[in-house]
């Protein structure tokens, strides 16, 4: 757990240092991600940021398709909390720091950056699955 707190601290400091360099908002299109490609990361949750307009999840793990790069922190973006609740069964406490997860995602087109758009998360210990497709809310019978 200490390791995860340290990682969160590093992310927080990076954010503060970066302030003023480029801080533009926030509600955006998602075509910076390559939606034709799916990658998988296995690792531990660092932090779930349950905020509008895009929830984010940091994972310390190994991406199967880039195993040679070793273990690293990847940042995943999703839709809003309200949409995740309705479309993917999410909760604010769906995952906790330190939990082992497997995440399928569409990577950033900028392959130098470790980021992606989360498509599906599986909590390894429980098998619980969460998805993040906002158009799923339109399926018939969703009450």
């Amino acid at each position: 757990m200490t390791k995860h707190l340290k990682t969160i601290g590093v992310l927080a400091v990076a954010g503060v240092v970066a302030a003023g360099i480029a801080s533009v908002s926030a509600h955006h299109s998602a075509t910076m991600f390559d939606h034709s490609t799916t990658m998988t990361i296995n690792g531990e949750v660092v932090e779930l940021r349950w905020v509008n307009p895009h929830v984010s999840l940091s994972i310390d793990g190994i991406v199967k398709e880039r195993a040679e790069a070793g273990r690293a922190v990847w940042v995943m973006e999703m839709t809003s909390p309200g949409n995740l609740v309705r479309a993917g069964g999410w909760r604010r406490d769906a995952v906790k720091p330190g939990e082992t997860v497997q995440v399928e995602f569409s990577p950033l087109r900028d392959s130098e950056r470790k980021g992606g758009a989360l498509k599906k998360l599986t909590v390894v210990a429980t098998g619980e699955v969460f998805t993040a497709n906002i158009r799923e809310q339109e399926r018939p019978g969703l009450e």
């Binding site: 801080s23 299109s29 309200g82 950056r113 809310q137 339109e138």
Partner: protein
Amino acid sequence: MRSRLLATMFVVLASAATADAQNAPKKPPAIINPPPTAQDYADLAKLPDWSGVWNPKITDQDQQARTNPPAWNEKVAKEVEKMWAEEKAGRPKLIFYGCFPEAHPSWMLVTHNAMEILFTPGRVTMLGESDGNRLRRIYTDGRPHPDTSDPTFHGHSIGHWEGDTLVVDTVDILPQAPLAISEAVGVPNDGDMRVTERIYLAEKDILHVELEITAPKILTKPWKTTRIFFRQRARKFDIVEGVCQLGDYREAKDENGHHVFVPVEKTEWGNLVAPK
């Protein structure tokens, strides 16, 4: 000597003006928000049931962006074509920058988030879940638009009921408010935009919003389009607070140990800067 005479004349004139003002009959202020009566509240029960959480049909938005585009003028059409190309190439223009509201009519056109609709005497209120303080006040008490323009993100809306259809007319929208057809394709309306809407239940749990958008600075003719919202009847979900700026900040502690927010780094397209 001359200056003393002028000063005396000024005092006399000023005194006369004050006396006139005191003697003039006072014009009562216009009452624009009279207290509702019990009958006003009873009349709300005659309106159609629009309660619950309404979600936009995003697949229809996707389709309409391609099949029913606005009649952009020649200059704007070129800009829009470039935006489509940039979005497709993974460089989506951040048209909703600064977490400003998507504004009217764009939040009816391209939102991905839910809304709720409240009826109170003389007013219909639309509250959006996200995207930065989405809120529309539609006055149904018979008032006209104001004589003096005071532009806002959502403009000045007046409405009336034709049967179970709410007919809305909106003016005084900020010129910076974009007319958007996707999250990354849209241009500022540049002023003089007018939006009329017919809002009604097409089915029990399907709300249609027929829009006619006149934007003479960017369109060659009014644009007619319809947006669809669907309702989840089991009431498992409530609208939640959605503060857009939270995505630009993260939680931290200040030098005194208090909980505060500090900015995070974002890309020019609005997503988080991921680690290298």
